[in-house]
């Protein structure tokens, strides 16, 4: 994962200056405000953020699933190179052209599989529908393909399960069905929006294991949206950290965890207990988590400068003057903080 040659890799999807706004009665909510990142072919990019960070709106913008109105893509481009290597801007495509990409070249799985599956159709019908729509197969062949996909994602007795309804399956099984459906057309990009958040840890381990295996087999790219830093460490090649609708840090997964340059990323990493390492030993003084004070900002009323400034322990008066630029701290590691150089120096001081 670390030897991944990011700069040489081929870019599959490039999001440039994306702005997705929602017009509400209370004002314009800038859910995504000038977001730029890219995903290379075959890599897993994790987008990390809390509620209101804009991570889900970014993924829905890529799928063009933002309800308009009240939503609008107010600026920027989403360039998708696709399987044919022919770059096009998703923002400018017609709905008919988009329909060809959606589900075929870019597929998506969601957090709650029960609400994403139709309760009145069998899982076979639902997978076959996507296959018939995109791959010009008849119903019989499509049902055969559905059975193969269920087997592919590790569902036991797929010949039987293909005729069952979503309620007959467990949560983990349903997420496997969602993955089978998403992968049925061999997408170049899989967007996974918190795919394991609703699952138990042992089932989460199964699904993450499955996603890794399938990625190896098919060679697709994965855009993995999550708030769970453990899952990020496990799955991602590169990481984008979002806060208040903007990218605040981006870089290789090891860099992000070992040498974060944005105080929000540092705060997130310090605020979670690490399994095993932080276990309480009776008779010893209790450790304390380093909590980030305050709350996630109201998207209607973001601070004028750095969105994290009111909660940041490193904030100085300059932080509230203007939104800091996303600067390259070296080797493709980007941070949106005016003090990142000081953090880099402090890090070197520790290692020297």
């Amino acid at each position: 994962m670390t030897d991944h040659a990011t700069h040489k890799a081929e870019v599959l999807l490039a999001v440039n200056g994306l702005k997705t706004y929602f017009n509400t009665d209370d004002g314009v909510v800038k859910s995504v405000d000038g977001v730029t990142f890219h995903i290379n072919k075959g890599e897993t990019l994790a987008v990390v953020g809390e509620s209101g960070s804009g991570k889900s709106v970014t993924s829905l913008s890529i799928m063009r699933l933002i309800p308009m109105p009240p939503g609008e893509i107010a600026g920027g481009e989403i360039v998708f190179s696709g399987t044919d290597g022919n770059p096009r801007d998703i923002v400018k495509l017609s709905e008919a052209e988009m329909r060809k990409i959606r589900g075929n070249d870019i597929a998506m799985i969601f957090q709650e599989p029960m609400t994403s599956l139709n309760p009145v159709y069998t899982v076979g019908d639902q997978i076959a529908e996507a296959v018939m729509l995109h791959q010009d197969k008849n119903r019989k062949d499509a049902m055969g393909a559905a059975t193969d996909m269920l087997r592919f994602v590790g569902i036991p007795a797929p010949e039987k399960r293909v005729n069952e309804y979503p309620h007959q399956l467990s949560g983990g099984m349903r997420q496997r069905v969602m993955i089978a459906m998403a992968l049925s057309c061999n997408p170049a990009l899989l967007i996974a929006d918190e795919p394991t958040t609703a699952l138990d840890v042992t089932i989460q381990a199964q699904i993450l294991d499955l996603m890794r295996k399938l990625q190896k087999d098919i060679g697709m790219s994965i855009l993995f949206i999550t708030h769970n830093l453990g899952v990020v460490a496990e799955m991602a090649d590169r990481v984008v950290v979002m806060y208040g609708g903007r990218v605040v840090e981006e870089g290789d997964v090891v860099e992000i965890f070992k040498a974060p340059r944005h105080p929000y990323t540092m705060g997130l990493l310090n605020s979670i207990p690490r399994p095993g390492i932080d276990a309480h030993v009776p008779g010893t003084p209790r450790k304390r988590l380093e909590a980030i004070p305050g709350n996630v900002p109201n998207p209607l009323n973001l601070p004028p400068g750095c969105a994290f400034e009111p909660r940041c322990k490193f904030a100085i008066p300059d932080c509230s003057k203007a939104v800091p630029a996303l600067e390259d701290t070296g080797g493709g590691h980007m941070a949106r903080c005016i003090r990142w150089q000081e953090f880099a120096k402090a890090d070197q001081g520790v290692t020297a």
């Binding site: 809390e50 983990g172 294991d209 708030h227 705060g267 605020s271 276990a279 309480h280 304390r288």
Partner: protein, 343 residues
């Protein structure tokens, strides 16, 4: 902050309480079966054995974690202990009294000592009540701090949980998730309880807010000397905050051990798998993962013998025949597994 703590200890003493370290709560063979009715006459055709013969003790001032996946019975166990749902069998001995035998009126007095913090801070606060009504309701029921003193006490509680006294006139919708959870904690503390069941108190919160609430719970526990049963599925948080951990699976206890001991030296195959399944927030650590096959079986028809055997990689023939009893395999370390030649 020390003054109320001292006052509280003397108040607790006057209620004839046990000293720190002594057993405060003893759960004996607790059972909660939910009947399944079917057929023309709606007869009971089976039982969901949500909690099936569990026993453990909590010492005064101890924080004990109750972990398990969905369907393990951890939430049902927590509620059955408080009699928020009636247990169908077993005893819950709190401070020397079996609370399962008490009448509703007698139980009310005990409710003052036993409080709960819920998972969902959005669903557990009445949207039509102000914060002062929410926190003051229990005080009113138990006739505590009457008159002007009640408002002072509410203000004090709000400050204790990191909110401001002027927040008491607001409604729940005016607060964020983390702040609502603080209100839920203030409500639980309003009656000066000895024992709190915290049912997944941080699971619904954003990551950066979770640490605030975990720290708050830890501070309050220490300051007030509370005994806490901390129910959660996130092992990292439980290990961090708890002295001991109880691991449940399909209504039964698999293992009980001190936090660090459970983590470093799990004795039950399920605990081993659960620990290895938790993703570690460090990309340079690559762990050998034990992937459990399949799903948790139905509690209507649990496997014979050991309930975990259908997913256990160490299962032998005897596991289907013998219900393993929870036995001490090291000091303070209990497991329910017949095999001693593993782990």
């Amino acid at each position: 902050m020390t003054a109320p703590a001292v006052a509280r200890t003397s108040a607790a003493d006057s209620r004839g309480m046990t000293q720190k370290g002594e057993t405060l709560l003893e759960v004996k063979n607790l059972e909660k079966y939910f009947p399944i009715r079917g057929g023309l006459l709606s007869r009971v055709v089976g039982n969901v054995k949500a909690v099936n013969d569990i026993s453990f003790t909590l010492a005064r001032g101890e924080v004990v974690g109750l972990v398990g996946e969905s369907g393990s019975g951890k939430t049902t166990a927590g509620r059955a202990i408080l009699r928020l749902i009636e247990p169908t069998g077993g005893e819950v001995i709190f401070n020397g009294t079996d609370v399962t035998k008490l009448s509703k009126g007698q139980m009310r007095d005990y409710r003052r000592e036993m409080q709960i913090i819920f998972q969902d801070p959005f669903a557990s606060l009445n949207p039509r009540m102000t914060v002062s009504d929410i926190i003051g309701e229990a005080m009113q029921i138990h006739n505590l701090n009457p008159g002007k003193g009640r408002i002072d006490r509410i203000a004090e509680l709000l400050q204790k949980v990191g909110l401001r006294p002027e927040h008491m006139r607001r409604y729940p919708h005016e607060f964020s998730g983390g702040q609502r959870q603080r209100i839920g904690i203030a409500r639980a503390l309003a009656v000066d309880p000895l024992f709190i069941v915290a049912d997944e108190p941080v699971s619904a919160l954003d990551v950066s807010i979770q640490a605030q609430v975990v720290n708050l719970l830890q501070d309050l526990q220490e300051e007030l000397g509370l005994t806490v049963l901390f129910i959660a599925h996130d092992l990292a948080v439980v290990e961090y905050i708890c002295d001991r951990i109880i691991v449940m699976y399909l209504g039964r206890i698999m293992e009980i051990a001190p936090s660090h001991e459970l983590n470093n030296n799990p004795k039950h195959p399920y605990t081993e798998a659960l620990l290895s399944a938790a993703p570690v927030p460090d990309p340079t650590i690559k762990r050998q993962r034990i992937i459990l096959e399949g799903d948790i079986p139905s509690p209507i028809n649990p496997p014979s013998g050991c309930v975990f055997r259908t997913r256990c990689r160490y299962a032998i023939d005897d596991c289907a025949n013998i219900v393993p009893e929870l036995r001490e395999v090291a000091p303070q370390h209990y497991k329910a597994c017949i095999r001693d030649d593993i782990l």
